[in-house]
Amino acid sequence: MATRSNWWIAYLFLAPVIVVMALLVFYPLLQGVIYSFTNMTQYNMGSKFAPASWEFIGLKHYIDLFSSMLQPESVFRDVIIQTLIWTFVNVFFHFTIGLILALLLNRNIRGRGIYRMVLVVPWAVPSFISAFSWTWMYNQSYGVFNILLAKLGFAPIPWLGDSFWAMVSVIIVNIWIGVPFMMITLLGGLQGIPQSLYEAARVDGATPWRQFWTITLPLLKPVAATATVLGVIWTFNMFNIIYLVTRGGPARSTQILVTYAYQEGFMNWNFGLAATYGVVILSFLLAFTLLYQRLLKENSNEGVYY
């Protein structure tokens, strides 16, 4: 079929989505960026009763935020550090646990299908329900963890009441939720590796450990890279779990950029500053993906049809 003669059909087929995306995603995105240069709040944003009275304040929000980072008490800095810890720890455990489980499931063992299905459960449960179940299990007096600790003769842990433990708690919940996707994805990658490579390696006398490092890991790299990028983006932007389990508390100790931006926007009604947080988040993620893609350039090969 012709390559050039039917390009206009492609555009025709794409038109509805492009229009909708332009109106619903890219236009609001641009607006969001513009708001980050304003002092817009709930009260001066304009409504049926009062005309809009917000003003452009240029880079003030950005300057305030970034200069505050040098001061001893900086919410912005704390939230960024917490976001980085949150993202790194989560994705690290998603990947390691996911890989271990994928390697186990890739073996020729009995009941593989059943294990696989059971292990996917955390992904299938709606996240607000997971948040709810875990909050109940973390309950100080009646939660299963503290009852168990008491039975074993240990002191109860203030799961959600202490800054450190609250962070541990939300991270555990999010690890629980995120492992299945990583496991399934990596399993798919493992199953794509030709068995003949391993047979050849065995003939050459390579140990399982060596086979893992010289065959499995390199060939898993493209799949692992995709899964990790998605994992980082999703974790960085994960709102539900933190909001529902700790609400960012106690005392901001589990706030990450998205939850804090939401608090600025819809609890303090400071839309301008919340938009600035949004731009910071987007910049982080863009920088991360660009850097990551650069590092993995050699693996990219796009499928082109006709």
């Binding site: 390559t3 390009w7 794409l14 989505v17 492009i18 619903l24 489980l101 063992i109 109940w136 950029l257």
Partner: protein, 275 residues
């Protein structure tokens, strides 16, 4: 090769236990009586099994739980239908045609994965507000389409990629138009993929919390995530009722998800790689 590796089973059993325990625990709580829920004794299996919590949640005098469920269902269903209607042809174009700007469009869709709700929600809130659609199903559906549409395009493109091109060539020779080929040949062959995509869009809307929390202000307009959250705040002591509500919400989704997961994974991962 197939020696029985007892330690493999041990590790997998342990992981399986961790995977299902929170769900199991909530399920057991939902069948317990209040006194047993608030005790420091550890009983996984209810001592006295009761359906009372389920009856209470479903027949609460104000019927509010069922209302939330209906709201969630309506919004999620319409979101997935609208998103599908918009995205099928676009996905087909991305799968089959070569044209200027294709890479850019692809990248644009991948980029939307990164857009933090926090940045989009304020302008969306303003737009929906100015359209008078706050606290209205339509406002919520519009907002959900921002996530669902690009997602559906990526998923569907991947499914369309697997339909052999020879079939289309034959249809074209027989005189079908481009749209006819798509509508009569490719779409019917991709029904499982379309179903999985629709299901995932449905689930995303069903689970969404942030936008619903911001856009819906009347208790009767809440979706389930917001509604159940109100339960936690208002009736801080009623974990047994909440558990019953949670199980009612989870089971149908869980069952369909487990059936559809194989296709889901294929669609999700390749959607990302080909970006």
């Amino acid at each position: 090769m197939t020696r029985s590796h007892w330690w493999v089973h041990l590790l997998l059993l342990l992981a399986s236990f961790i995977a299902v325990f929170p769900v199991l625990w909530i399920m057991m709580t939902s069948f317990k009586q209040r006194a047993e829920v608030f005790s420091t004794e550890l009983h996984l299996i209810p001592q006295t099994f009761t359906w009372e919590n389920y009856v209470h949640v479903l027949t609460r005098a104000d019927g509010v739980f069922l209302r939330w469920m209906a709201n969630s269902f309506l919004v999620a269903l319409l979101t997935s239908l609208v998103a599908l209607a918009l995205s099928t042809t676009a996905a087909y174009a991305l799968s089959r045609f070569k044209f200027a700007g294709k890479r850019a469009i692809h990248y644009g869709f991948f980029l939307t994965q990164m857009f933090p709700g926090a940045l989009l929600i304020i302008p969306l809130y303003k737009i929906v507000n100015s359209l008078g659609l706050l606290n209205n199903y339509l406002g919520l559906i519009l907002a959900y389409c921002t996530v669902a549409v690009p997602f559906c395009v990526m998923m569907l493109k991947n499914f369309f990629d697997t339909v052999p091109y020879e079939l289309e060539e034959a249809a074209r020779v027989d005189g079908l138009s481009h749209f006819g080929t798509f509508y009569r040949i490719v779409l019917p062959l991709s029904i499982p993929g379309v179903a999985v995509t629709a299901f995932y869009a449905f689930i995303t809307a069903w689970n969404e919390f942030l936008i619903a929390l911001t856009f819906m202000s009347d208790q009767t307009m809440y979706t389930l995530p917001i509604g159940l959250q109100q339960f936690v705040n208002q009736f801080n002591a009623d974990w047994h009722y909440l558990s019953a509500g949670a199980i009612i919400v989870t089971l149908p989704v869980l069952v369909v998800f487990l059936i559809a997961q194989k296709y889901l994974v294929a669609g999700l991962t390749s959607g990302g790689t080909k970006g």
